[in-house]
């Protein structure tokens, strides 16, 4: 048991990303001294990278009290389709549910596309049984057929199993009995029932969620086992925590049971860190902006709480309907390729140069101009400070490529063409931010933009201007935001209960009882964990609609006891805020009641992340030079500062470039930058 998460323990947060494994360690033995490590991710076995990162800190692994871990093991398994062999047993007549989908195609236009079901057809078997929508048994379960099917799937080499019956959300008896039979025959614990992760109607979504769960369980199990062994061998015998896609931590002992929940682990930790950091800085409402090489993730945080969605589709026809931080991804990143189309218009993305061949400036064989190359040409990136360059390419050579590939047909020189690419790339990312904010009824002027990831701070100030967002926050260490998320995230369990009743017919006592039960279940789950949170927080909400609608909107509930009248008025207010429509003519419907139980861990003082001793006395001392930078049509000689050496009291007026090891922040002309005690840059965007 770990009793030391409180107060003074030593905590290590480790995030395994696509390229780097980042570690942030807060040393309880040395008054919270911070250690940071960044090592290459070991793709085949991420555990080696994790251990290498731990060793790079110089702190003995056995002296760490708690390790908290964000992993992309399941993300990669799903996206690269390196899945475990799973079998599925379904209601007779319905084995094709996860292959038929909801009659879609990948894009609105173009009658082509490829779809491969998570579990192939020959590993999906049917057994006689049938529940009605009411939960009544229509055809009893044929137990002999279940045994036969299980045996067949075992013989076919399946490592994990899904039992997915129609209407099991209404009555799970058949699924439970079939699972009981299967477990008596199955050599491991990887038996998933459809209703256990998602107890809602919609057989395709529920079936795919369960199929993904089964297909990643053995992979996650092996990985967690390997990591535990490696840690054990170094004297860390305690439990560790793993980040779930809902932004909460769960014990490594329990994580594989609902492995599908870890598929969005990485993006969730970044958003959790952003919420935490921004709240301390006095910004409860932020849009997070994490720009990487091939894509950009944005998410909305209100009142310091990230939006959570149960309806994420992680690629075409692959819904994973478990609560996950609602991250919106667009295919625009540093590696997005710029081209000119037949109409002579400049296009940025969706093709990406990826990591290989990558942007031209990395000298790995890339030949097509990208957003990163544009930043280089425009003086925003320092050619001498690029990480991971194979063969240096001169700025002049990159500029010539812009002139030739884009400028010639658009009537621009190389610099003008790079400027256009930057502007259009920004526009595309701004569109993504609009879709999570404006298009959902939120005014961007009420938010701050929280920029992280390697490239976020390069573009954030320009984006904020485009969107009329008044302020930008760049955290002290933008490159390790995900690792920070692991350190600060809470423990969390989410519950959804479908009630589907008109508000006018609500039984207020029953409603309160449902919310209370959800809270109790969460409390019990957290009590099972080895790590003890400092406080428990209960967040209640309702999913509501007008009678006759199919879409839902989520309404926050102030407490677990609300009256029907309160519900009605909360819903009407939320609906008007979202759609600017009021409908007194139509009754409201309460569809789901939700509770999140959040075990809050100890607060981390983020000012530990900066080293006050390294700060110089004056702004002039922190200046490392100056270079011409292209701002909206002209070159401006721009001072360059070493960010870590800036006096915290300094105010900088744009233009300016602030450089640190793994990120560059661009301050546009007219912007004004201050810093707070945690070392965040606060950029006030000029008019």
């Amino acid at each position: 048991m770990i009793e030391k998460d409180a107060a003074k323990g030593t905590v290590a947060g480790i995030d395994v990303g696509g390229t780097f494994t980042d570690l942030l360690l807060i040393d309880g033995a040395e008054d919270g001294r911070v250690r940071i490590a960044k090592v290459p991710t070991t793709v085949d076995n991420q555990a080696f990278g994790v251990v290498a990162a731990l060793e790079a800190t110089g702190k003995a692994v056995s002296d760490i009290d708690l390790i908290v871990h964000g992993t992309t093991t399941t993300t990669n398994a799903v996206l690269e389709r390196r899945l475990a062999r799973a079998g599925m047993i379904t209601t007779a007549g319905f084995r094709d549910v996860i292959e038929l989908g909801r009659r879609t195609r990948p894009q609105p236009y173009g009658m082509t596309g490829v779809f491969v079901p998570v579990i192939p057809r020959d590993l999906r078997l049917e057994v006689p049984e049938r529940m009605e929508a009411s939960g009544n048994v229509r055809i009893p379960l044929d137990e002999q057929a279940v045994r036969k099917a299980v045996q067949h799937l075992l013989d076919a080499g399946c490592e994990s199993l899904v039992i997915h019956f129609l209407h099991a959300y209404a009555n799970p008896a058949h699924e439970l009995r079939a699972a009981e039979i299967a477990r008596s025959m199955w050599p491991n614990e990887h038996v998933t029932t459809g209703h256990s992760l998602l107890s809602e109607a919609r057989e395709f979504e529920r079936g795919v969620t369960a199929a993904v769960n089964a297909s990643v369980q053995p992979i996650l199990k092996r990985y967690i086992g390997r990591l535990a062994d490696e840690l054990n061998a170094r004297g860390y015998a305690r439990d560790f925590l793993v980040m779930n896609g809902n932004g909460g931590m769960i014990s490594a002992r329990f994580v594989t049971e609902e492995a599908a929940k870890t598929v969005m682990s990485g993006p969730a930790s970044g958003v959790m860190a952003a919420a935490y950091t921004a709240r301390r800085a006095g910004f409860p409402h932020v849009v997070t902006y994490d720009m990487g090489g091939t894509s950009t993730d944005v998410a909305l945080i209100r009142n310091a709480r990230p939006a959570v969605s149960n309806e994420i589709e992680i690629e075409y026809a692959m819904p994973i309907h478990v609560p996950m931080v609602d991250v919106h991804t667009v295919g625009a990143g540093g590696g997005s390729i710029a081209r000119i189309d037949d109409a002579g218009l400049i296009r940025v993305g969706p093709d990406s140069a990826g990591a290989t061949p990558g942007p031209i400036c990395y000298g790995r064989g890339g030949t097509e101009p990208t957003v990163s190359d544009a930043n280089l040409v425009l003086g925003r990136l320092n050619p001498n400070r690029l990480l991971a360059v194979d063969n240096p390419v001169s700025v002049e050579a990159v500029t010539d490529i812009f002139a030739e590939r884009i400028g010639r047909r658009a009537g621009l020189d190389g610099v003008g063409a790079a400027g256009a690419v930057l502007k259009l790339g920004n526009l595309k990312m701004a569109g993504a931010i609009r879709m999570v904010s404006v298009a959902k009824g939120h005014d961007p002027r009420d938010f701050a933009l929280f920029a992280f990831g390697g490239a976020g701070p390069l573009h954030a100030a320009a984006l904020a201007r485009e969107l009329s967002i008044p302020k930008v926050i760049v955290p002290a260490r933008p490159g390790i935001t995900n690792a920070l998320g692991c350190v600060v995230a809470d423990m969390r369990h989410d519950f959804v209960r479908t009630v589907n009743v008109p508000v006018a017919e609500i039984d207020e006592a029953e409603l309160a009882a449902i919310l209370a039960t959800q809270a109790d279940e969460g409390r019990a789950l957290i009590a099972k964990e080895a790590v003890k949170p400092q406080t428990l927080r209960f967040v209640h909400s309702a999913d509501m609609q007008f009678v006759g609608q199919t879409h839902l909107i989520n309404v926050a509930l102030p407490s677990a006891t609300v009256s029907a009248a309160e519900l009605q008025s909360l819903f009407e207010a939320a609906y008007f805020a979202r759609f600017k429509v009021s409908l007194p003519e139509i009754r409201a419907n309460l569809v789901n009641l939700n509770t999140s139980v959040i075990g809050e861990r100890r607060q981390i003082d983020l000012s530990l992340l900066i080293d006050p001793a390294g700060r110089l006395a004056t702004l002039a001392d922190a200046q490392t030079g100056a270079r011409p930078v292209w701002f909206d049509g002209s070159w401006i000689e721009t001072p360059v500062y070493a960010r870590e050496k800036l006096p915290l009291s300094a105010t900088i007026t744009g233009p300016a470039i602030l450089e640190q090891l793994d990120a560059t922040t661009v301050v546009e002309p007219g912007d004004r930058v201050t810093q707070d005690a945690d070392g965040n840059l606060i950029i006030e965007v000029g008019a």
């Binding site: 909801r102 490829v114 189309d341 400049i346 006759g548």
Partner: protein, 568 residues
Amino acid sequence: MTLDAITLSVIEAALQQACDEMDLAFSRSAFSPIIAEANDRSDGIYAAEDGSLIAQGVGGLPVFVGVMQYSTRTLIEMIRDGRCLPPEEDDIYIINDPYLGGTHLMDVRFAMPVWRNGEIFCWLSNTGHWPDIGGAVPGGFSASATAVEQEGLRLPPVKLFKKGALDPEIYAIITSNIRIAEQRIGDIKAQAAALHVGQARLFEVLDRYGDETVTQAIAELRRRAAVQMRARIAAIEDGVYHGLAFVDSDGVVDQPLEIRLAVEKKGDTLTFDFAGSSPPCIGPMNSVLATTHSSVYLAMRHIFPDVPISAGAFEPLVIRRPEGTFLDAQYPRPVSGCAAEVSQRIAEAVFSAMVKALPDEVTAAPAGSSGNFGLGGFDPVRGRPFVLYQLSGGGYGGNADHDGLSNGCSTIGISKSPPVEIMEQSYPILYNHYRLREGSGGAGKHRGGMGLDYEIELLRGEARASFVMDHGRYGPQGALGGQDGAVNTVTVYRDGQAHVPKHLSKEQDIPMKAGDRVRVGTPGGGGYGLPSERDPETVRCDVRLGYYTAEQAEQLFGVAASDNEVGR
């Protein structure tokens, strides 16, 4: 002043964004599940002088590509001629007349002028498919109407909102003439609110870049879209390419309707000539001219998905008016089948012509039917009537790179089909199975995708079944040596006796009682290339997965394989 490339691209993106936001606002706040879940709606921006399309939301239903430019144009002309009241600020017109630039009656259009400095800068318009518009059949999909009056309420352009306020009199007339009227207020408000969302975004763009610059940009974007489409066309070899497609019947007279298409490619234009197609029909499978045009546009958009939708992109596509055919229906010809089925046959004719010209870009024919099965009855347990729709997908055609998708959405749609569990919760029915229709994909080097095979049983009470489907007579066409996909099949089991509709894919009001069943097999996609060129290992894999039997592998592909008995 000349526009730089950056400003141009920025304004293009901003106009597109305004349309996409309208689409999103409309479907998220709509009541009609057809709009909210099936996205059977579209939003766009149209020119003040002639209604030509400036920009349209990407998420709009494909069949509406370009349609609203015809209704907006008619509205502008009628205002000019004094046949319609002139617009004032915050007025919104409503219109669904098919002959005034529309589709079928269920597609209800709103149009709102956007004012700048006392003049109309442009129009915003959207279309939503209402769940009912009155007429003989609940939901409006009649299989046997012979005049438009039987199909429902027809609205000429009238002001539904006057200076921002809903006109209670027009509203009362509408709601007195349609079924499930009480929820329409929600859809009307959603549809109007979406236009206001678009207007707010448009004002931001105009305020920022100036009306003059945006006007110039719109003209330049139109010119460039034309250039882009012309560049694509120019790459095709000059010549005449023939396409052919059949509608099973018009639902009244049991005879196929023929679509004959000759596409002439010359220089950088394509001319579409439907001469020789069948004359106007008695039943509801006529198409109005606006729908015929938009069917050609949507097919070309499927072929060149990256050319933006705007009036400019349509310029090099010349469509000869198919006078005297069922593709240019005049009042009072019934048209309820035009948007859902005839449009897809027109697109199929375009695909079958163009696959010869562009074998790498175009696919063999897709299932191309909305698969509309309607069941209306009375549920004795709940004590109320019900009307359900089961829309279904089918196989897509094989193409140069891949097999066709299975159970894809109709060519003209992007909607999801409802889950079995939701249908069973909502209606007194039970699905006995819902599965891939094995063997239905047309054989080919790249085979067609598989259709769907489902069976629904009525659990209690009585009901009437209606079908508006297609491809019952001939399967979706194979291309370049590929075979046709399987035909659509409908069987109604009444007292255990199998009844097959006389028109195969269309029939109205078949009485059913508890225990009776409906079984539907939707079409598979057409195959692409010679079946003998399919990799034998891939054929054996198809057999292992149960897509074809060993016997079919032998017959269709000449590949020996052994059957996989496992599965069910």
